[in-house]
């Protein structure tokens, strides 16, 4: 029996990625990283800033996302996100810019704890890939 399932990543502008031969996906879910294999139970969860790791027959890919929702159902994994880019073809300057913007945001006073947690997380992840 094959161990593959389908992954689709969409952002508001277009369908970002669609793959049929995926064997494992690791997503940064809100309560910790979550690995998804074939025949996982139907699940809906949130994503926090982090790296999506997709392993397929044709190789491994990594994407950075800031937020999103995952839905897994009938061996279809849908990831909805408003901000995503592939680690393969991102340039360092852009990451630097993102870090700078995020750091400025942490200095504002009016943000709440949860927002601060998310931004810190984002900065950590961005630093680690830089």
């Amino acid at each position: 029996m094959s161990e593959e399932f389908k992954v689709e990543i969409v952002n508001p502008e277009k369908s970002f990625l669609s793959k049929e031969d995926v064997t494992e996906v690791v997503v940064p879910a809100f309560e910790g990283e979550m690995g998804i294999l074939k025949d996982h139970i139907s699940i809906i969860s949130f994503l926090k800033p982090g790296i999506i790791n997709i392993q397929s027959k044709s190789g491994e890919e990594n994407f950075f996302i800031e937020d999103g929702i995952v839905e897994f159902k009938n061996n279809n994994l849908s990831i909805l996100t408003s901000s995503i880019f592939s680690l393969k073809d991102v340039d360092k300057n852009r990451i630097q810019d993102l870090i700078k913007i995020a750091e400025e945001e942490t200095k504002k006073n009016e943000i709440n704890d949860q927002a601060k947690f998310l931004i810190d997380q984002k900065i950590d992840v961005l630093r680690s890939i830089n």
């Binding site: 508001p12 502008e13 369908s15 809906i44 969860s45 949130f46 929702i69 159902k73 408003s82």
Partner: protein
């Protein structure tokens, strides 16, 4: 009858108008293709989002404590209408169709004695509405600077709507936009986004989901996003409709200008011929009298 010179000038001016409308049609056609493409590409996201929310709201056990964005405030007194139009004119019935739809809704609301608040997106809608409903318009947004509809702008509108909802400024929110069907047809739409109206399309799958964290938290995070997504979808549909509408309007204008040029040319030739004949008669009768 107009003199020959006048006719000549008119023909020249109609011809130059025709050139302009033709160029505008070409530009609209090029833009339409792009807008249509992004409208189609944007559909999967909003569809998926809708699906997830449907599944979620089916799974919610405690309807009483459901987030207000889903179930509403329980009141039906203050209606907020987001009327989305274009920033530029010369696009046929595009703007007036939306306005017409919105106005009929407004008068229904006011007749029922409810309160009305309006947010206009796009300057053309604001121009047309402020004469009659000027005191009802609470906000006017225009995205003249951004070339294409983008999610960032939609998110701004969405956040504003949610913020107003949270402080209790309104109970029900509707958005008005044109849905793109094809180049000739755009259907003005009214869509209720708060509270979310999905009773009609309950899906029957009994499949249960696992939620992480729990349903309520997911829903309360997802619903604001859904509003931005719906507004973004409306913006995409709108921009495709605008270009389509402009294209067909300009096509008509070009054709009309062509007809006018033909008519004027015939008139010009006739009066030229009449003048020549008149001169000939004068010469001949002059020669005969000698």
């Amino acid at each position: 009858m107009a003199s020959l010179d006048d006719l000549k000038k008119r023909i020249a001016s109609v011809k130059s108008t025709q050139k302009i409308t033709k160029a505008m049609k070409m530009v609209a056609a090029a833009k339409l293709r792009r807008a249509q493409e992004s409208a189609e590409k944007g559909r999967p996201y909003s569809e998926k989002m809708n699906n997830i929310i449907l599944n979620l709201s089916n799974g919610i056990s405690d309807k009483e404590n459901a987030p207000k964005l889903l179930s509403g405030t329980g009141n039906d007194k203050v209606h907020l209408c987001v009327v989305m139009t274009s920033d530029r004119g010369l696009c046929g019935g595009f703007n007036s169709n939306i306005i017409k739809k919105a106005k009929s809704y407004f008068s229904k609301i006011l007749d029922e004695g409810k309160q009305l608040k309006i947010i206009t997106v796009g300057s053309k809608g604001n121009d047309q509405l402020k004469r009659v409903y000027g005191d009802k318009i609470i906000e006017n947004i225009s995205f003249k600077e951004s070339k294409n509809a983008n999610y960032f702008d939609a998110d701004k509108v969405g956040k504003m709507v949610i913020q107003k909802f949270e402080v209790g400024e309104f109970d029900v929110c509707n958005i008005f936009y044109n849905q793109f069907k094809n180049v000739i047809t755009q259907i003005p739409q009214a869509q209720q986004i708060i509270p979310l109206n999905n009773d009609s399309e309950r899906n029957n799958s009994e499949e249960s989901y696992e939620f992480e964290p729990d349903e309520d938290e997911i829903l309360s995070n997802l619903l604001p996003k859904n509003i931005s997504t719906q507004i973004f979808k409306a913006m995409l549909e709108n921009s495709a409709s605008e270009q389509g509408s402009r294209m067909s309007a300009m096509d008509n204008a070009t054709r009309n200008a062509g007809e006018m040029v033909d008519k004027l040319t015939i008139e010009y030739n006739r009066s030229r011929q009449a003048a020549i004949t008149k001169e000939l008669i004068e010469i001949i009768s002059g020669a005969e009298s000698l």
